[in-house]
């Protein structure tokens, strides 16, 4: 344990700082207490999510209906399979990390190299998966209409199945050019326009008799309320304001803007941790390659970065439960 430290001449002197009640090195202790404080930061995020969810418990989006995509499986509903896969990737990279730490205890450099490389690979695959998840979430799925009060109206057919805007919106070209600052007014750029105007959606909805509107309100079974045809028409015509496709921090087609905000902040903050974890792993990996720890006769550095990596996995376990499952 003390191979990396100079002797200070205070060994065994209780009041000279010479004893180690926790029997752990300074670096490892500091990693533990950093993890403790970081865990509290994540708890703050997740508790804030819980607060908002309890506050809006009768209209919060249902996660299974939001995250239904799987790469290369177009049009097939696959709720949660993808996040479950991401969870496995991260758990497995944790296993390779702990195997690297174990190999380090036995001073087996080659094994440390192999297992750390696998861990870095797992981290990169996870980051890529998260990027894909964000892309799908931002791009949107069915599209919806936002009301003047900031609520979301979604469209369903007679069986209660979701219907995408492009399946019924009136088909004529009213597309307006997006205002960019290199054309028209040089000081103004507007955000991306949806594929359809609100007028097209309204007309298309009026023509398709089997369409209904689904509101955010949960009924007794915990499912979203579907309005009758007349109520749907009245709601759309009186309260509708504009079309939303996909999600950003202010609007999203899945429901409350808060839901998307928490999604971006919590998974983003976690993704940032994975990213910095990969970075630190790469640095330590090269240190292993150039024999730094062979010369030190201790692979404790691998153990410290391992602690951080397992913590990132630990946080994901909680994010998975509270964002996707509960």
């Amino acid at each position: 344990m003390d191979t990396t430290l100079e002797k200070t001449g205070t060994e065994g002197k209780t009041w000279g700082g010479g004893n180690e009640p926790f029997k752990a090195s300074y670096g490892k202790l500091m990693m533990w207490f950093f993890i403790l404080s970081d865990a509290l930061t994540f708890s703050g995020f997740l508790a804030a999510y819980g607060f908002s969810r309890f506050k809006f418990s009768s209209e919060w989006p249902i996660a299974d209906e939001v995250f239904t995509h799987f790469p290369f499986l177009h049009g097939i509903e696959a709720p949660m399979y993808y996040v479950a896969l991401m969870t496995f990737i991260l758990i497995f990279s944790s296993v390779t990390m702990v195997l690297a730490v174990d190999a380090g205890h036995h001073m087996k450099k080659n094994k440390v190299v192999t297992y750390m490389a696998l861990t870095i690979l797992g981290g990169l695959v996870f980051l890529g998966s998260q990027a894909w998840e964000w892309k799908t979430f931002i791009k949107g799925d069915y599209g919806a209409v936002e009301t003047k009060g900031g609520n979301i109206l979604q469209f369903v057919d007679a069986d209660g199945e979701r219907v995408a805007l492009d399946e019924f919106a009136a088909d004529y070209n009213v597309a307006r050019e997006r205002q960019n600052k290199n054309e028209g007014l040089w000081y103004e750029t507007e955000s991306a326009l949806p594929d359809f105007t609100f007028k097209q959606v309204k007309e298309g909805f009026a023509e398709n008799e089997e369409l209904h509107i689904r509101t955010l309100k949960n009924n007794e079974e915990g499912e979203k309320t579907i309005l009758s045809r007349e109520a749907s028409l009245a709601k759309l015509n009186n309260q509708g304001k504009g079309v939303v496709q996909g999600a950003n921090l202010k609007h999203n087609e899945y429901g409350m803007p808060l839901f998307a905000d928490f999604f971006f902040f919590i998974t983003g903050f976690h993704g940032f941790h994975v990213f910095s974890g990969v970075l630190i792993l790469v640095i330590i990996f090269f240190n292993v390659l150039v024999n730094t720890y062979e010369k030190r006769k201790s692979y404790e550095m691998v153990e410290k970065v391992g602690l951080y990596w397992h913590f990132v996995d630990l946080v994901w376990v909680f994010v998975f439960t509270f964002f996707y499952l509960v």
Partner: protein, 121 residues
């Protein structure tokens, strides 16, 4: 950490790692299966504002967190003082924070639904 590296032989340490990995995998599979099937009786019955399914998810998550911290992060080999200073501190503060925020959130929901505030169109 040198203590247990010396006392534990190689095979038993790796055996423990794979054992914990299998527990984590099985628990995750159970969670995903429950999340897809959503058994009716678990949703209909509630205990302190949360239905059984959500309690199951939370308990299974804590089981996973225990194994990750104890086995992967080697908490089981640390001294009792280190273990307590990290685990007790975080568990106490997190439970306190969550209890306060959830009670407050539930109260605001009650105000929205039962008082004179109109459902925002």
């Amino acid at each position: 950490m040198t203590d247990h590296a010396d006392t534990q032989d190689k095979s038993s340490a790796t055996k423990r790692i794979w054992y914990v990995f299998s527990i984590l995998s099985i628990v995750t599979i159970i969670e995903v299966a429950l999340g897809i099937v959503k058994p009716a009786f678990m949703i209909e019955n509630t205990l302190i504002d949360l239905h059984y399914l959500n309690w199951t998810f939370i308990i299974l998550t804590i089981v996973k967190a225990y194994y990750i911290t104890w086995a992967f992060m080697h908490m089981e080999h640390e001294t009792a003082g280190l273990r307590r200073s990290v685990v007790w501190t975080s568990v106490f503060l997190i439970i306190y924070l969550i209890a306060i925020l959830l009670i407050e959130g539930g109260y605001i929901q009650d105000v929205y639904s039962d008082s004179f505030i109109k459902w925002n169109l």
